[in-house]
Symmetry: C2
Subunit: 227 residues, 2 copies
Amino acid sequence: MSRTLYSLCGTDRARPFSPHCWKVVMALKHKGLAYVEQPLPFTAISEIEGGVSKTVPVLRDGDRLVADSFAIALHLEQAYPERPSLFAGEGGKAMARFVESYSQTTIHPAVTRIAIQQIHDMLDPHDQAYFRESRKERLGRTVEEVAAGRDAEIRDFPATLKPLRHMLGHQPFIGGQAPLFADYIVFGALQWLKITSGSVHLPADDPVLDWFERCLDLHDGEARRIA
Amino acid sequence: MSRTLYSLCGTDRARPFSPHCWKVVMALKHKGLAYVEQPLPFTAISEIEGGVSKTVPVLRDGDRLVADSFAIALHLEQAYPERPSLFAGEGGKAMARFVESYSQTTIHPAVTRIAIQQIHDMLDPHDQAYFRESRKERLGRTVEEVAAGRDAEIRDFPATLKPLRHMLGHQPFIGGQAPLFADYIVFGALQWLKITSGSVHLPADDPVLDWFERCLDLHDGEARRIA
């Protein structure tokens, strides 16, 4: 069966960087499912599979087409119940939504404010124009205006991870003794930050950094293939 | 079988206010288990059951004694598996730890800064002396110094609930379609704020306020019995 993950890249197709697409890469590996990744620029997303979605990831899984990272994880859990679970039960499924909301309201805005200039610079010129316009609309400021606050944002960044840092005093993964999709949700955000800005901007002795490294080690070091 | 929940109160024994004890009240009701609540002042905690714990809640459940709200929830889940689940699986159990860490690193410090003077004023004189000293040690400032920032803290408070607010766009409870222990964790924090300060300090149209009201309605309105 053919399986294709449509994801996001800049000029360099070998460095896909979308946090939401990284969640799906880790989920596919977690389930042990083979796939081909097809990274595309922002402005080619509308052409995927005849225009099925305005955003990536989009997964073609045989005759099924699924957009949105959480919907894809739910699809994989339902379609491949005999493979390792991404949620470990209905409670885990519900609370993964809470982790997603935490990541998107707390970590994502901080990553955008730290890495916006570098994300812009990774894109091809056609995408750069789209990115400038869409971020101006979303943030009310230009790329350069947001980027001017970068140093302060980097200084404040570790504080956004307080809940995870505190939890790591109890257990090695958000999923408990082993990772679940909720780990990949937060991992995706930090992997996005690392690929675009070159660092996750955490101190060397931060337990969150240890957790991030544990995630990089998962699935034969899949997420380390991007320098 | 005799079941006693040791909890925390000020001068008025009818208004127990500890967030951690409220989590356990809701967990006991969720499991449909009868119990007697015995609220005590801070300085009487060390005398509970021969000095078993430095903090409340402590639950005596027949011949078992369990301290710490999360440990109590795990005990109830294990001891009464045939009753409604508090976690809905292993994933839910693991992620409830994340929700607990979110609540304790984000909501709890804010509640302390808003309500510290009012908590102090609820206590009997002997407890007030203990409270002043222990909070000075923990926060590095006097009760009055912390309380001076109250208005700004109230203004900033709704932002601490961004992850929950965002999640409520997907589902009515952290547990999904129905509440789980993770809901009671965050509910306990807001109930603590309401009982001590008279309000949860959220705008009338806030979805988090709707969720809080749904929690107050649970278990025959158990949590509404404290005005």
